[in-house]
């Protein structure tokens, strides 16, 4: 039986789609069978980020409306044979799907795949409710900005209300040199407000933009970039390994301070 993980944030543009794609690649490299679901109906992106846009025949709405079988709508990745995408419909809106339908779909996919990653749309309306409906676990993506942290807090409240018990935080686009200058929220500032467990920190990295535009993921070559390495570390933590958070500051005293926040879970 697989696990359904929703990647959500509240605020748009913080890196949900990139995170979904990279964690998908990372999990496949760890020998798992993975489906990525784009739940952003009407504003789909995950297909573009995966470089699979031109292979879409059926989509999520076709599946829930019974126009095709799930298997027909799943698109196999170009490089990884155990990675599949269920794309969103572009010509419909969020109301074309209901939370019950998403739950049913999740249960069906869990039978055959190890991980189902759901890329949640921004916002807290119908699209959000659909995306979290079948989730066993949530990953909340935020950037070190006050607005993104505020929205993440709102999302955590809604996840608690929806009785999703397991959720972890991913801090994306950290710029250590800005934090050092005191111009950016630090990891512990964010954790102090949100008070949830951290599962990973992704440094700001231009390689992300370059690879995303090419339809590739940095996690495919983890050793080529800090972001790729950070995504791979999150994958290992998802699979239960204890991996320390990267030391972005090359500074022992900071590192020990950080460990206090991360705790044993690392």
């Amino acid at each position: 039986m697989g696990e359904v993980i929703v990647i959500t944030s509240g605020k748009g543009g913080v890196g949900k789609t990139t995170t979904t794609a990279n964690l998908g690649v990372g999990l496949v490299l760890a020998k798992k069978k993975v489906v990525l679901i784009d739940a952003d109906i009407g504003l789909r992106n995950l297909d573009v980020v995966m470089g699979l846009e031109n292979r879409i025949v059926y989509d999520l709405v076709d599946v829930v409306e019974g126009h095709c079988r799930v298997k027909q709508a799943l698109i196999r990745d170009k490089r990884f044979e155990n990675l599949f995408l269920l794309p969103a419909a572009q010509t419909r809106d969020k109301n074309a799907v209901s939370p019950e339908q998403m739950k049913k779909l999740s249960l069906e996919l869990k039978e055959e795949y190890d991980f189902i990653l759901v890329d949640c749309p921004a916002g807290i309306e119908q699209g959000f409710r659909n995306a979290i409906a079948g989730a066993d676990r949530a990953l909340i993506v935020t950037t070190p900005e006050v607005s993104a942290v505020r929205d993440a807090d709102r999302i955590i409240g809604l996840l608690e209300a929806a009785e999703i018990k397991t959720f972890h935080l991913i801090i994306n686009r950290l710029r250590p040199e800005m934090v050092k200058r005191g111009d950016m929220l630090d990891i512990d500032d964010i954790l102090e407000i949100l008070a949830i467990d951290l599962i990973g920190v992704i440094p700001d990295d231009e390689k992300i933009i370059i690879s995303t535009n090419r339809g590739e993921q940095v996690a495919a070559n983890a050793n080529d970039s800090p972001a790729g390495k950070a995504y791979t570390n999150i994958v290992r933590r998802l699979l239960g390994e204890t991996v320390p958070i990267m030391d972005f500051y090359q500074n022992q005293s900071f590192f020990s301070r950080l460990k206090k926040f991360i705790g044993l879970g690392g």
């Binding site: 807290i124 505020r150 929205d151 807090d153 709102r154 409240g157 008070a195």
Partner: protein, 218 residues
Amino acid sequence: MNKYAVEFKGTKEGVTIYCLEDADFAEILSDLAAKLQQRSSFFGDATVSIDVGNRELTDEEREALMETITKNSRLRLKDIFSSQERGPAVTSAKRQGEMEDLALDGFTEGRALVIKRTLRSGQYIRFPGHVIVLGDVNPGAEIAADGDIYVFGTLRGIAHAGMNGDRTASVVALRLAPTQLRIADIISRAPDHADLPDQPEYAYVQDLRIMIAAITAK
């Protein structure tokens, strides 16, 4: 006429309807009828208790309440009670005169809502009594209480104490760093650049302004 005279609160056992202290009985009936009509489909056939506060109801008044419930909803009435009858032990002790030689100055009693979790952005608590939070109140969260607000954690959101006009109400927090504080009709906002205080503080009204003072253990 008051904007509202009754409040609904859902519990595991069903719905409790509170009649506010300063509302007169006619207001209670009309507000109750209006709210039931709005929400009867939401409540369905849940069981309901009515807390009439410290009123002593006549038989006619009890009947009028029951009739309003059955006419306007499918709720099943379980109980009409006065919260004084069910008041805390201190009440009965006081009644029996056991506390006569204790100066009651500085004592307040009343309903309190205890929240053992962090309130997050977008969450709003309205309660006709004191509110006690064992956790943080994050920016974007809001508490509105007729009584005092006590936060055993960091208060960064909005707190409105004494909402029914009580200027003696206060707001207490281990770290008092709210976006905005309101006590009764008096509002103050946080300075634009403030550091987190490093000790517990409380806010109260003096000369129509909200003052903040440290709580020190003496």
